[in-house]
């Protein structure tokens, strides 16, 4: 289940030579709440996604990770307002695209997978037909080609029991199988980028692993690039190539997975990883001991008006943190941290 190290290295070298398939620059999104008050959800998020790369986006509830997913394909609630930035896809700014252009991109080039598979599927239509409808909606082809293509997709995702599953209704399938149907819909039109918003949150660990395996295989076979949004840092190790840590709508840390997960630099990332109990078989290693926690919370009312947004909860705060916001500091070519500790 783990890619051998040399393969990963090779993959990354290839990635570096190519240009970004998706480039997000200084994205600002706010929600209009009651009255004319604007509450910011994303405050200047920038990153690049390379072809065939898996970018893990890590953040707790309220960090803006779902807003990020929505703004990439401009599927945001009605009260959302993109107040700045660009989303470049293959050289085109999606934020300036007109509805027809967007419709052509959604599904065909960038597709979205949601968290709750039982809500995203129609309960009384066979799942095979639901995948076929996605194909039909994105290009009118003859009946025979449509059916043939649907069968190919199902064979790709469900190598066993292909026909039985495509003839089933959602309620006849397990949670993991339903999630796979959503994946089938997402890849149906051969997109180059898949955005998955917490796709495994409602599944148990064995099924989670299975779904990650499906994603990994699709990446290898179809060269899909992926933005994988989750609140569970542990899911990303051995899976993501890059990890982006969001905190209160800002990028706290972004870099190669092994360096962010193995040696986190930002105080928030560090504290977050320490708060999960480690799996150790050693007798008496701090069992039942208090887990280290991050004091306070990230609700909007507790965010500071000035300075670094993590400052009130940070254990390594300095005087300067209260005064102004840190700008991303480069630790290496691809690893950036927004913290004064690393600013030179």
């Amino acid at each position: 289940m783990i890619l051998p190290q040399h393969e990963l290295e090779d993959g990354r070298k290839q990635v570096q030579r190519m240009t970004a398939i998706l480039e997000i620059h200084d994205l600002h999104v706010s929600y209009r709440s009651s009255g004319s008050e604007l509450s910011p959800a994303l405050k200047g998020v920038s990153f690049r996604l390379m072809p065939g790369e898996i970018m893990g986006v890590l953040g707790e509830s309220g960090s803006g990770k779902s807003t990020l997913a929505g703004s990439l394909v401009r599927l945001l609630p009605g009260n959302a307002l993109v107040t700045g930035g660009t989303v470049q896809f293959e050289g085109k700014d999606l934020l300036q695209a007109n509805p027809d252009e967007l419709q052509a991109i959604r599904g065909r080039h960038i597709s979205l997978i949601f968290q709750e598979p039982s809500l995203a599927l129609h309960p009384t239509i066979r799942v095979g037909e639901q995948v076929r409808q996605v194909l039909a909606a994105h290009g009118s082809r003859g009946k025979r080609t449509l059916n043939e293509r649907t069968r190919q997709i199902f064979a790709e995702i469900f190598p066993e029991e292909t026909d039985r599953i495509s003839r089933s209704y959602p309620h006849q399938l397990s949670g993991g199988q339903r999630q796979r149907v959503l994946i089938a819909q997402a890849i149906a039109c051969g997109p180059s980028v898949v955005v998955a918003d917490e796709p495994t949150a409602s599944l148990d660990p064995t099924t989670q692993m299975e779904i990650l395996g499906v994603f990994r295989r699709l990446r290898e076979r179809l060269g899909l690039a992926m933005i994988f949004i989750t609140h569970n840092p542990a899911l990303l190790s051995d899976f993501a190539d890059h990890v982006l840590v969001l905190y209160a709508g800002e990028v706290a840390e972004c870099g190669p997975a092994e360096s962010v997960l193995g040696l986190p630099r930002h105080p928030y990332t560090k504290a977050l990883f320490q708060s999960t109990p480690a799996v150790s078989g050693k007798p008496g290693t701090g069992r039942k001991a208090k887990l280290p926690v991050i004091l306070g919370d990230s609700s909007r009312s507790s965010l500071p008006i000035r300075g670094c947004c993590f400052e009130p909860r940070c254990t390594e705060r300095m005087e300067i943190c209260k005064e102004r916001e840190p700008s991303p500091a480069n630790l290496s070519v691809s690893h950036t941290v927004s913290c004064f500790k690393y600013e030179s």
């Binding site: 660990p205 840092p233 150790s280 078989g281």
Partner: protein, 280 residues
């Protein structure tokens, strides 16, 4: 094989003793013979006061059916549940209510287990009113005490549960369960829906309450890492049976069953450094 000894090693009277518990569901289809589903297949275990038993397993292994049977929400097909020496399976409704007070449940998602149209105060007092034993003064005193105990401030009582954060909501659910001073708390995936940093806060709260009040927990989860951190014993369930039971160290170092090994292999870990713990 009966595991009577507990992790603490003391020879105490068990708080809860479950013997050969069986729950069978019958699924009726429109035509043909009814299908039988064995959700619990002669499950037996004991929990000593002040300890935690974690029940782990994949979805569909019968964990939640077990919780529902123990909380008298469902009646088992056969078998016995001894709570403080009394068999609670055969109790009548009135006596059952007394037992339910002692066994409280906390669910996975506090957003759906708390009434969104009530205020936090109403959520908290409901169990006290239903018991019909307390006057206004006492109810207020208890509510205030437990709010402070779980780390919530007094000024949230007027708010609806939906206006609270996930962590605050789960604290409210815990406070609500504790107002009746139960002896056993069944935590049905009580941490799974929370963010990592909030999980740690709630886990700490539960461990602190166990230390100071001597609470007993049945911790149902699919998070093996948290189970190992939290529990004195771990029981692994697969298709309605407890296939393996023992202290966390044993389960992690020498798993005997295929199910346990599969669950262990699926535990996601941060970084590659921890991998060695499993390969030994």
């Amino acid at each position: 094989m009966k595991v009577e000894a507990t992790a603490t090693g003391k020879n105490v009277h068990p708080l809860l003793k479950v013997e050969n518990l069986v729950k069978r569901y019958t699924k009726r289809s429109l035509a043909g013979t009814p299908e039988e589903l064995l959700a619990l297949d002669s499950v037996s275990f004991t929990i000593s006061p002040g300890t935690t038993l974690a029940v782990v397993g994949e979805s569909g292994s019968g964990k939640s059916t077990l919780a529902n049977c123990l909380a008298c929400l469902e009646s088992p097909t056969s078998g016995n549940i001894w709570f403080e020496g009394k068999d609670i399976v055969k109790l009548e409704e009135r006596a059952c209510r007394q037992v339910r007070r002692q066994i409280q449940l906390i669910f996975q998602d506090p957003a759906s287990s708390l009434n969104p149209r009530w205020s936090a105060f109403e959520v908290l007092v409901e169990p006290l009113i239903l018991q019909r034993k307390f006057n206004r003064e006492e109810i207020k005193k208890r509510v205030n005490y437990w709010l402070g105990r779980v780390g919530l401030s007094q000024d949230i009582v007027g708010r609806s549960p939906m206006e609270l954060s996930g962590g605050q909501r789960q604290r409210l659910a815990i406070a609500r369960a504790l107002t009746l001073e139960p002896k056993l708390l069944i935590l049905d995936e009580a941490l799974s829906a929370l963010d990592c940093s909030v999980q740690a806060q709630i886990a700490n709260l539960l461990m602190e309450l166990q230390g100071s009040l001597g609470m007993t927990y049945l911790f149902i989860t699919h998070d093996l890492a948290m189970a190992a951190h939290f529990a004195d014993e771990i029981a692994v369930m697969d298709r309605g049976r407890i296939v393996e039971q023992g202290p966390p160290n044993k389960i992690f170092i020498q798993p005997e069953q295929e199910t346990t090994r599969r669950l262990l292999a699926a535990v996601p870990r941060i970084g590659r450094g921890d991998q060695s713990a499993l390969e030994r």
